[in-house]
Amino acid sequence: MLSRREFLMATAALSAITGPGLVGKWSRAAAQQALSEDVLLEFEPFGNLTLVHITDIHAQLMPVYFREPSINLGAGAAAGLPPHVSGSDFLKLYKIEPGSPHAYTLTSEDFAALAKTYGKMGGLDRIATIIKRIRSARGDNMLLLDGGDTWQGSYTSLKTKGQDMVDAFNALAPDAMTGHWEFTYGADRVQEIIEGLSFPFLGGNIYDAEWNEPAFDAYKMFEKGGVKIAVLGQAFPYTPIANPRWMFPNWSFGIREEDVAKNVESARAEGAELVVLLSHNGFDVDRAMASRIEGIDVILTGHTHDALPEPVLVGKTLLIASGSHGKFLSRLDLDVRGGEVKGFRHRLIPVFSDVITPDADMTKLVADLRAPYEAELKRELATTQGLLYRRGNFNGTFDDLICQALLEVREADIALSPGFRWGTSVLPGQAITVEDLHNACAMTYPAAYRSTMTGQMLKDILEDVADNLFNKDPYYQQGGDMVRVGGMGYAIDPEGAMGSRVSKMTLLKTGEAIDSAKEYAVAGWASVNEATEGPPIWEVVETYLTSHKVVTPEENRSVEIIG
């Protein structure tokens, strides 16, 4: 693992050569306990242009609690490197004081207690304030770029087929976006929305599946601060695999590294002095891509929901990780001269909702968008005695709750719940509302199926997902986390080879080893197969909660990590 010193040397190397940066200043800022809007947003403008990056907001219009993962293992060359550092190691790496505001936003340490102190994060009206403030400081020399996973993840986005987010983001006026979960509204809806957008939806890696030719614009040229900028869009490469391909059968995705390289070349040939990749690849794929493709100055990473207080430098490429769910925005000021980045100044801005003044226009817009659903959003289903959260490689308490509901309501031996990284947290003692539940499962293929699977099939599924997460070559990873399992325990060696990571599969209710030939009743949801039958998952969980008015999340000990 890279030491803090080596890590800083890597980033400081560029800023030392090229002028002052914020690197190193973060720790001083982090030590400051006093929070004010001015302290949060203080930023001496630098260079000739500013990039503002927001990504993976997952349709969270309002401030939320969102606990970062306590375990986020890296595979192969990425092991131990940011963003695969969590908890107290993260605090040490970035010299962040435990219990400080930044410790609260960036790690899971003491989350429930700190959440009560520091409050909710995000909210589009707070984000609007920050963007307006940067715009007023930088004038037109700024690009606002949205990395996607914007239209999906809430009750209101599901009900409006993403329209609430489209309206809100049109008001924010980004300069470009790319996508992933956007496609789960189906090709027709995506096309309908894109036709009405005032900014381009970029995706150089999206092809027409039949004719094998690009279906979306790969990049757009801008001129800001006298600098010609090319913004390349890269949608999530494995959208048709991780999500239902039948919803957009005529689009094919993929990493298509050779296309990215070719588009960088064409953009440079068109005079681009700065090349920015607006990416939904996932951090490790972007890190690999930065080392394999020449000429990308900045990669605005997305998909894997990482928040990093400093850029990661790969060769001459700056990788920016701006978190998720509206918790953060990244501001990157660049000094670009003679077709080269001469220096940068970066800040990951935490959106403390109690500190940043809401923008009145956006507050009103969001309230109007939510008004038709307000009563249902607030409806309380139960109370939780412990913290409900999702993030973590192997389990989260919210997924444990979903699995319990599947086991009981669907009368199954084993429950499977997908390893999504979106979904907000509920604090101990709080009510679980319809809104909270939908934040964990609002999507367009929610059917909770019940079927029988042999022990071998279960093993194959676990191995398959484990390889998507822990394959040593990031180009073979799909992001997301391990499928959550209820009713069954297992051991996993993340460093094992495909097909040999998972062992000791045990049926929890009997303590018996899973028999590869025996059939088990399995309930799950979010199948990518067309015509999957069953009630929507939120109905299953709601049914469960009507007879469990108080839920008590416990530490999940059914997954043993070995190796």
Binding site: E213, I241, R245
Partner: protein, 151 residues
């Protein structure tokens, strides 16, 4: 490689003769030796070098039943600098032979695109045989996955 529809059609058409070997449903998966033997039969026993030929395939197949691949060989396609044929193999299929593309000077460029069925995660191999007797190989692992849990 970014091709518009017309270019793609021209390129596919430029492979003057395409021999498709159907996927036989054999009882046993192709062993590594079988693939190795097919390569040696094709090259006349010569070990292929790397370079000149590039195979483009998805890292993870969206649909194992129809995986698009493109093969290109750097060649002037005149005189001795001529690609005679390209063999495509899938080493994990019951029958590893997928296709052989034969080229002539009239082909213009030595490039072809096709779709293949992959039974499981495996390597796709492309071997080019040049007029001067040299042989080149490229290889890419294509993962066939159950999918559905990312996000």
């Amino acid at each position: 490689m970014k091709l518009d529809r017309r270019q793609a059609l021209v390129l596919t058409g430029s492979a003057a003769f395409i021999a498709m070997a159907g996927l036989g449903v054999g009882p046993a998966a192709a062993a590594a030796e079988d693939t190795e033997k097919k390569i040696m039969d094709f090259t006349g026993g010569k070990a292929p070098e790397s370079g000149k030929i590039s195979l483009t395939a998805p890292e993870i197949a969206e649909n194992g039943n129809t995986v698009p691949i493109t093969v290109e060989v750097e060649s002037a396609m005149t005189g001795d600098d001529m690609v005679q044929s390209v063999l495509i193999l899938a080493d994990g299929n019951p029958n590893p032979e997928v296709a052989t593309f034969n080229f002539t000077a009239l082909s213009g460029t030595a490039a072809a695109t096709t779709r293949m069925r992959l039974a499981k995660t495996q390597s796709v191999i492309a071997v080019a045989k040049m007029a001067d007797g040299s042989v080149f190989m490229d290889k890419k692992e294509v993962k066939v996955t159950i999918g559905g849990c990312g996000g």
